[in-house]
């Protein structure tokens, strides 16, 4: 059977990730850490792009979904891992993906719970509700002793590697891309453009919005799982409003609803963050100035040469 181009892309991406992963032992752990961070950022930004960029909703709670995924996934590996008595390799290749899946599912569930009632809200009202949800999650995590409360969850095994990170990133990008590039998927864009007209064309706008929310949260949750097993430690404070804003910045800087632009923005911001480290406490000052400058010089998003909405699938 002839595989279409898009699926070949996905396969190749997965293979490349797997290939590199085999050498990860030889990669400088710091570079690896940053690279994995970039991969997670791509997943976060692409998944939020589905909600904020393509479907035109305004979520400010992506870090909340990420937290849900991170904690669920970490709880599974930290509680079940030691009991299984399996080798680290088995745990990394079997238990860990299961835990990522769990993180994604729990986050998707949360996405459904938040999305279903609140999607009739528009614009900033939706933003506030999602922001509120993120904060509620944070407060609850701070208060639950079983997950470490304010002290944080310690002792999470470091399973996150190149394969899982970039595999997930590739799958996310593929899913978002594939969802949109179909006649069905143009509906997301239509909802973003004009809800009244979309309804009149027979599109169930609520259904589209919920789908975007659930899929977006799912991948945010998976990204959370990766993050947990990269850092080895979780603290509720790490999933606050500022984290959500960070992801929103990637999406907007990338040009809202552009696949490649958002990926590049995610990479750029992560790399910028690291390169500026050498400037010590001027780092954030420079970072903020660069952010303003980027926006002023490329207001249409960094990478406008990527066609936004091609008619060809």
């Amino acid at each position: 059977m002839k595989l279409p181009k898009s699926q070949i892309f996905l396969l190749v991406a997965l293979l490349v990730a797997g290939g590199f992963s085999a050498f990860s032992g030889r990669i400088d752990p710091y570079i690896l850490d940053v690279t994995l961070g970039v991969g997670i950022a791509i997943t976060l930004a692409s998944s939020l792009n589905l909600i904020n960029g393509f479907t035109g909703q305004f979520s400010l709670g992506h870090a909340g979904f990420m937290a849900v995924g991170a904690y669920s996934s970490a709880m599974l590996t930290t509680t079940l891992g030691p009991k299984l008595g399996a080798s680290a390799g088995v745990l990394q290749w079997v238990l860990f993906p299961a835990s990522l899946l769990l993180g994604g599912l729990v986050a998707a569930l949360a996405g459904l719970a938040v999305g279903a009632p609140s999607l009739r809200l528009k614009g900033d009202y939706l933003a506030i509700v999602t922001l509120g949800f993120g904060e509620i999650i944070k407060v609850i995590l701070q208060n639950v002793d079983a997950v470490g409360g304010a002290r944080g969850l310690v002792g999470i095994p470091d399973y996150t590697n190149l394969f899982w990170t970039f595999g997930v990133a590739a799958v996310t990008v593929y899913v978002v891309w594939a969802l949109l590039n179909s006649t069905y998927g143009r509906g997301f864009l239509a909802v973003a453009d004009d809800e009244v007209a979309a309804e009149a064309m027979g599109l169930n706008t609520t259904r589209y919005k919920i789908t975007a929310f659930v899929v977006g949260s799912f991948f945010a949750g998976v990204a959370g799982g990766l993050y947990a097993h990269l850092k080895g430690y979780l603290n509720p404070g790490g999933f606050d409003f500022n984290k959500s804003i960070e992801i929103v910045v990637m999406v907007i800087l990338g040009g809202m609803g552009r696949h490649v632009g958002v990926i590049v923005a995610a990479v750029l911001l992560a790399v910028l963050n690291e390169t500026l480290r050498s400037f010590g406490d001027y780092r954030m000052i420079l970072y903020s100035l660069l952010l303003i400058l980027l926006m002023l010089t490329r207001p249409q998003g960094l990478f406008t040469w990527t066609p936004r909405k091609k008619s060809a699938a």
């Binding site: 506030i128 208060n143 406490d281």
Partner: protein, 305 residues
């Protein structure tokens, strides 16, 4: 009973400050349809202006206090206008999400430059007494009614907030520039077609909103005399929430939202549920929005198809 009353007073004085900041958010939003993230940092700068100018303006006396307050408002207004001109104006015809990012950039800049220039440590918002010792912005006394305690500062906060709110309402609803602001909020192109200078209106809006933030900063610092470059973020976030809760773009709504958030926080704080305070505040907010999708006093924009 007295505890309830005491909490009510505490909640109102906290809410009044949220209301002041929320008014600035709401005004800018009303005209430009975007959330000015840097607003909460203008609030911080306002407090620092008060901190540095206070001793020169005779802080500690009633008139000195008023002069300090006015200076902070003026300084913040200038800052607000400068930010608008440099960072937002070049993006005038772009989507408001684009502007949102520069606003976040400006916010980060003010916070971090603030930490570098003003120092990261909290400072005490107090002023030296000529003979030695420290004093507050306004002469302070505690008023006692039975076991109820009200600080004169709390009274000042409430009074100043009320005066500013009324003044603002008057400007927006009773003056020409106010009318222009409202017209712009509905349709900027049409507004320029009837002779409204959009840039002037926007500058004015920023000046006004930032002045309120500056006043809020000084009053906040007076009531909680510990200031630091990140002091704006939390009250800023809450004020933003208050503005939306009241119905973003709606002035009385912002005031009401601010008061409500202040009261909810205070009452929850005083109970066993205090650890869940923010969660409860947000849960209430979400519930209210689900039943009133345009906020408490907001009207859904009519859209005839």
């Amino acid at each position: 009973m007295t505890e309830l009353l005491q909490q009510l007073i505490n909640g109102l004085s906290l809410g009044a400050i949220y209301a002041l900041i929320a008014l600035g958010y709401t005004m800018v939003y009303g005209v430009l349809r975007f959330i000015n993230f840097a607003h909460s940092d203008v609030f911080m700068v306002g407090a620092y202006i008060g901190f540095y100018l206070g001793p020169r303006l005779g802080a500690g006396t009633v008139w000195g206090g008023i002069a300090t307050l006015a200076a902070a408002m003026a300084g913040s207004a200038v800052l607000g206008v400068v930010i608008e001109k440099l960072a937002y104006k070049p993006l005038r015809n772009r989507s408001n999400l684009t502007v949102l990012i520069t606003a976040i950039g400006v916010s980060l800049f003010l916070q971090n430059a603030g930490q570098k220039i003003l120092g990261a440590n909290p400072r005490a918002f107090q002023f030296p007494v000529p003979g030695g010792g420290q004093q507050r912005l306004f002469p302070e006394t505690q008023l006692h009614f039975r076991s109820l305690t009200i600080s004169s500062n709390q009274v000042i906060v409430l009074a100043v907030s009320a005066v500013l709110l009324v003044a603002l309402w008057w400007i927006v609803h009773r003056t020409r520039i106010g009318t222009a602001m409202r017209a712009m909020s509905f349709n900027a192109t049409a507004a320029s077609l009837v002779g409204i200078n959009n840039d002037a209106v926007i500058s004015f809006t920023f000046a006004l909103g930032s002045a309120l933030a500056g006043a809020g900063g000084v009053l906040y610092a007076m009531n909680y005399p510990s200031i630091d470059p990140l002091m704006g973020t939390l009250p800023g976030l809450k004020a933003f929430v208050a503005a939306v809760l009241g119905g973003i773009g709606n002035l009385p709504g912002a005031a009401l939202g601010g008061m409500l958030i202040g009261l909810v926080e205070t009452f929850v704080s005083g109970t066993r549920m205090s650890t869940y305070r923010d969660a409860i505040a947000f849960a209430i907010l979400i519930l209210i929005l689900l039943f009133r999708p345009a906020g408490l006093l907001g009207k859904l924009r009519v859209e005839k198809v």
